[in-house]
């Protein structure tokens, strides 16, 4: 079973993302903030989905840190944001793709599928 770690501080978005991907047979782990992802003591997911605006450490920094350490650097990251035009910053931070809120269910499914396929191909 594929595993997704989703970090967002909004409870209702946590719920809907969980619903979308559990329906597709993913294991979804939701977090309200992401500093713990930089620790060693957890099982790595197949993909990270991070909100840009997070308490304590923001999504872009978190992404850069994840992509900067060996343990997590090969795991794809999708950055989601309510602010448009962050593509450049997100790519610079190492994000594999960017999604603007509100997103369509179809779009997030496609994005996850593409990244996991790509990883499978490589």
């Amino acid at each position: 079973m594929k595993k997704i770690i989703f970090v967002d501080d909004d409870e209702f978005i946590q719920q809907i993302v969980t619903v979308i991907f559990e329906n597709l047979g993913f294991q979804v782990i939701v977090l309200t903030e992401g500093t713990s992802l930089l620790d060693d003591g957890y099982d790595l997911p197949d993909i990270f989905i991070l909100d840009k605006q997070l308490p304590s450490m923001d999504g872009l920094t978190l992404c850069r840190r994840l992509k900067g350490q060996d343990r997590t650097k090969d795991i794809p990251v999708i950055m989601i944001s309510a602010t448009p035009g962050i593509l450049k910053d997100a790519k610079a931070a190492g994000a594999d793709d960017v999604l603007e809120k509100p997103f369509s269910v179809m779009k997030i499914r496609e994005m996850v599928a593409n990244l996991l396929d790509g990883k499978g191909d490589s």
Binding site: D10, F12, I13, Q15, I16, V17, V19, I20, N23, A82, T83, P84, G85, L87, K88, K101, P102, F103, S104, V105, M106
Partner: protein
């Protein structure tokens, strides 16, 4: 499709609209204020322009031109009035004086230059040679502040007055000379001395080379001229001794006829052809020969010459003639006197021919033996008697009697020389007075010496005395007028001028009241601002109804001057007014009406509390004073108006809430008002070292420069919102209206900025954008869940066919997407006005991008046929997301505004300069006057036709910002009812 969709107003949205309204009102208000300032400026200008045009004096404004050492070298006429053209006869507007009058007097240049540099107004009288030696009286005052080089000049042509004065002066000089000559010749007692003195005196006066008197004598039966003496300033001799009259050839006939010979250059005169060589040998090149005719016979000549050719003036010739007459008279008087001393008989003889009265008087018996002429001089019949007693009791004018008696007693004193010489007035039978001069000699006899008899003669000198008197009066009058001019000239306030003139006139004439009144016929008022009174006569200063003068107006129309000797008997004064005139102590008066351009504008009154018979010279003087006072008052009014206009202008500029700045065409600040200085925190002096560019925010300089260049070259005005940099380095948002100032030939010569501080509006706008940004950001979070649940529901129900639930969910999702779109647009907008919109260009196939967007749009608008006509396009670097957004916006609009569901045609084209994308619909269209507005933020087409559609009016605003960021252009071609084509064009390379 819904016919009308009402946007749900949330609490937040209502609040937002309220704030927007406030902001709009604030903007409108500032615009209104700008208009008011401009309107009041132009009203004031129009008023004074009318005034200047109606003036009789010439008026102009000139701009002084200085060289690098600040010497005035030229000036240019910026404004002139109608009277200016009349006075100068040449149109000068826009020209410089050096162009028009190359030898223009430096005198004026220096005077105006000084006015421009010091701001001290001047008044001058001087000649302008370049305009045919015309005289001008001029007042000059600087217009504008200390660095203005503009001078307002009011002047009138006084050439005629000057000429009159000159003629008067020449006449006066001549009379003066003759009086002195009389004084000089009178005490002389031999003919040679008379000739010598007269010749010398005239020669000096005329700067003539030679002057002499020649008497016609008979020598051996042939007429000869006898020259006994004369004046000679030349190195050639004076003709001496008798010479034959024939030598004067044909001139003799002329002289015998009594005609004066005037030769300006002997070389050019045929009349003296034979004598020419001889005349030239004694250096006679120009001469005047005056015949002296007595009893119809040529008795002598008077000669004046010059060793160079000379243009003899008529008044010089006249003077020679009068000197000749006086010389002849003096010679004959001395001869008569000599004869008196020689013998009684010869005296009698000589005097009978000379036309003088003679007498013998025996003092012991008081017996007189007057001749006929002596009796006639005293107004007595031929057989009358003349005694000292009679003379002293009734014949001599009373005031002269004592002096005459004293002179007789002195002459009869045996210790003295026995001479009597006195001028007295003799009463004629008709009551008139005759001036007589008496010369007499007392003869003594016996031991001890006793006066035996007195022999004397009398000459009528009434004419001479009259001339002397009139000369005296002329001089008094001239002195008075000079004094009047001197008093009025330095005065600038009309009431002061009126008072000073009244006072001088009143004191000069020894009257007790004088006043100048102004007629205001629009208010039906007579205004006496001031009056001069003395001897306890009450003041008449104040305001009166015009009816008070009504009874005088017909008389004024007829004569302009009303003279009343005694108010109680004058037929001019209605009985009803007697009491009123008595109350203010007016018994006699002169009133002079000043009627200008057929309007009764003012009057000058001189009054006195006792009856007075006005002499013609008094009336003339009052008239003259009235005219001069009027001229001076008008001048002062004009100057005051000028100053007031200047003050008004200054007040408007300085009290304006807007900053006002004047720039030269290079953008240097030449003037700033107080408000602008406050806005930027610089002093006005500091600002004058700045340029428009140096106070403008760096990022706006290039655009500013382009607009200002268009203004400088084409006179194009513009308005712009700008960030200025204050002295402390902070930013000030302003709204600038920039307009050119044109010179007299319509070329821009400087520029004016009306600058309004809009920092408060900008702060409100910023807050509003912040608010929108936060609000829309916060809206997105719940919207994300709603949208996702909606889509999930839709998927789940897709499997169940034919249930209304499925349709409801579809509709729900469409509305959620619409809402997501609106929130998105709001956020975009606030970011754009904050300058945060960033373009992230990627290599793009525009046709592919557009095809995608068409596909998406077609899903929503199944009613319309979306037709894509793709041209061949190169790959281009653009922000895919943003350009896609513009395409979608165009298509959505096309669908929205063609509700009948027709075709929408999307075309792409490589134009050679870039790539052009057009979206054409066949819907309701847009009228031409709307084309600009539809690209404005929050603008929505209003009116009946827009009832169809919803939206918040941001789409096109966002589109224009996106295309601008790409360096492209955007536009619309449309007419009402004929559909529309929206297009944008992107350059191959985005800047």
């Amino acid at each position: 499709m819904a016919k009308k969709t009402k946007t749900v107003e949330s609490g937040e949205q209502a609040d937002l609209e309220k704030r927007l309204q406030v902001m709009q009102l604030a903007l409108n208000d500032s615009e209104k204020r700008n208009k008011e300032v401009n309107a009041s400026l132009s009203r004031s200008e129009e008023k004074y322009r009318n005034l200047f045009e109606s003036m009789e004096d010439a008026f102009c404004i000139i701009e002084m031109i200085f060289d690098e050492k600040n010497n005035p070298v030229d000036f240019r006429y910026l404004e002139t009035n109608h009277a200016f053209l009349r006075h100068t006869g040449k149109p000068m507007l826009g020209k410089t004086i050096r162009e028009m009058v190359p030898d223009f007097e430096q005198f004026w240049m220096d005077a105006y230059g000084k006015v421009a540099l010091t701001g001290q107004p001047v008044k001058l009288e001087h000649i302008v040679k370049g305009l045919g030696d015309q005289w001008f009286q001029t007042s000059a005052v600087r217009v504008g502040g200390a660095d203005s080089r503009q001078v307002a000049v009011v002047f009138s042509n006084i050439t005629e007055r000057k000429h009159t004065e000159e003629r008067l002066h020449a006449r006066e000089l001549r009379q003066d000379f003759l009086v002195k000559l009389g004084d000089l010749l009178r005490p002389l007692n031999n003919p040679i001395a008379v000739q010598k003195a007269a010749a010398r005196s005239l020669a000096k006066h005329l700067s003539a080379s030679r002057v002499f008197y020649a008497e016609l004598i008979s020598k051996k039966g042939v007429p000869h001229f006898l020259v006994e003496t004369g004046y000679n300033d030349s190195d050639a001799p004076l003709p001496k001794g008798p010479f034959s009259i024939e030598k004067l050839e044909n001139l003799v006939e002329q002289l015998r006829e009594g005609d004066i010979v005037v030769i300006n250059d002997v070389n050019e005169v045929k009349a003296v052809s034979r004598e020419k060589a001889r005349l030239r040998s004694i250096k006679v090149e120009a001469f005047v020969l005056v015949p002296i005719i007595k009893e119809n016979q040529l008795a002598g000549v008077f000669f004046a010459d010059q060793v160079h050719p000379r243009q003899w003036k008529p008044e010089e010739v006249l003077l020679i003639q009068e000197t000749a007459e006086r010389t002849w008279e003096a010679i004959h008087r001395t001869r008569a006197e000599a004869a008196v001393r020689e013998s009684e008989t010869r005296l009698q003889l000589a005097l009978n021919t000379g036309g003088f009265g003679t007498f013998m008087w025996y003092p012991l018996e008081d017996r007189g033996e007057p001749d006929k002429q002596m009796l006639a001089l005293f107004g007595l019949p031929e057989d009358g008697t003349l005694t000292l007693k009679e003379a002293l009791s009734s014949l001599i004018y009373e005031p002269d009697r004592m002096a005459y008696n004293g002179a007789v007693i002195r002459a009869m004193d045996p210790r003295g020389d026995g001479k009597l010489q006195i001028d007295i007035r003799v009463i004629q039978p008709d009551g008139s007075l005759r001036w007589v001069t008496i010369h007499a000699q007392v003869f003594f006899a016996g031991k001890p010496r006793q006066p035996e008899k007195m022999v004397g003669m009398a000459i009528d000198i009434t004419k001479r005395k009259q001339i002397e008197e009139s000369l005296h009066r002329l001089k008094v009058r001239k002195d008075y007028l000079l004094q009047l001019t001197d008093i009025m000239n330095p005065l600038f306030i009309p009431a002061d001028i009126q008072y000073s003139a009244s006072r001088l006139l009143c004191e000069h004439l020894a009257m007790d009241r004088a006043y100048y009144c102004e007629i205001d016929d629009s208010a039906n008022n007579i205004l006496v601002p001031n009056n001069f009174t003395c001897h306890g006569v009450p003041s008449l200063a104040g305001k009166y109804p015009l009816e008070d003068l009504e009874w005088m107006i017909p008389a004024f129309r007829k004569t302009r001057v009303i003279t009343v000797t005694d108010t109680r008997t004058s037929s001019l004064i209605p009985m009803t007014r007697h009491a009123a005139l008595d109350a203010v102590q007016i018994r006699a008066f002169v009133a002079v009406a000043l009627i200008k351009n057929d309007r009764f504008v003012a009057a000058l009154f001189v009054t006195t509390s006792s009856a007075h018979s006005w002499r013609p010279e008094e009336i003339e003087l009052i008239h003259e004073t009235a005219e001069r006072t009027w001229a001076a008052v008008e001048r002062a009014h004009t100057e005051q108006a000028l100053q007031r206009s200047e003050q008004n202008y200054r007040a408007i500029v300085n009290q304006s809430l807007a900053g006002i700045v004047k720039l030269d065409l290079s953008g240097n600040i030449t003037f700033a008002n107080t408000q602008f200085s406050h806005m930027l925190g610089y002093s006005i002096k500091e600002l004058q070292k700045h340029t428009l560019a140096s106070i403008t925010h760096e990022s706006e300089r290039a655009r500013q420069a382009a607009l200002f260049a268009a203004l400088a070259h084409k006179g194009k005005s513009y308005g712009a919102e700008r960030r200025f940099i204050k002295k402390d380095g902070s930013v000030l948002w302003v709204n600038n209206q920039v307009a050119p100032i044109f010179d007299s030939v319509g070329q821009p010569e400087s520029a004016v900025i009306i600058s309004v501080d809009i920092s408060k509006h900008k702060a409100i706008e910023y807050q509003k954008d912040e608010f929108i940004s936060i609000a829309s950001h916060e809206l997105k979070t719940p919207l994300t869940s709603i949208k996702a649940y909606g889509e999930l529901l839709g998927e789940m129900l897709a499997a169940i066919s034919d249930t209304p639930l499925k349709e409801y969910i579809r509709r729900l999702n469409i509305q959620i997407d619409r809402m997501a779109g609106l929130v998105h647009s709001l956020l975009d907008t606030s970011r754009m006005s904050g300058g945060q919109l960033k373009i992230q260009p990627e290599e793009t196939d525009l046709n592919l991008l557009i095809a995608d967007r068409i596909k998406e749009a077609q899903v929503i608008s199944s009613k319309h046929g979306l037709i894509f006509q793709a041209g061949t396009l190169p790959i281009i670097l653009v922000d895919k997301e943003r350009i896609g957004q513009v395409v979608t916006n165009f298509i959505t609009n096309a669908v929205k505004y063609s509700p009948e569901g027709k075709e929408v045609v999307i075309t792409t084209l490589d134009t050679g300069k870039g790539l052009k994308v057009s979206v054409q619909d066949f819907g309701i269209g847009i009228s031409k006057d709307m084309h600009q507005k539809i690209f404005q933020r929050f603008y929505r087409v209003s009116g009946e036709d827009s009832g169809y559609v919803s939206g918040i009016g941001l789409g096109l605003y966002i589109a224009i910002e996106i295309i601008k960021k790409h360096g492209g252009t955007i536009g619309v071609e449309s007419e009402l009812g004929k559909g529309a084509v929206f297009y944008f064009e992107l350059p191959y390379e985005t800047p």
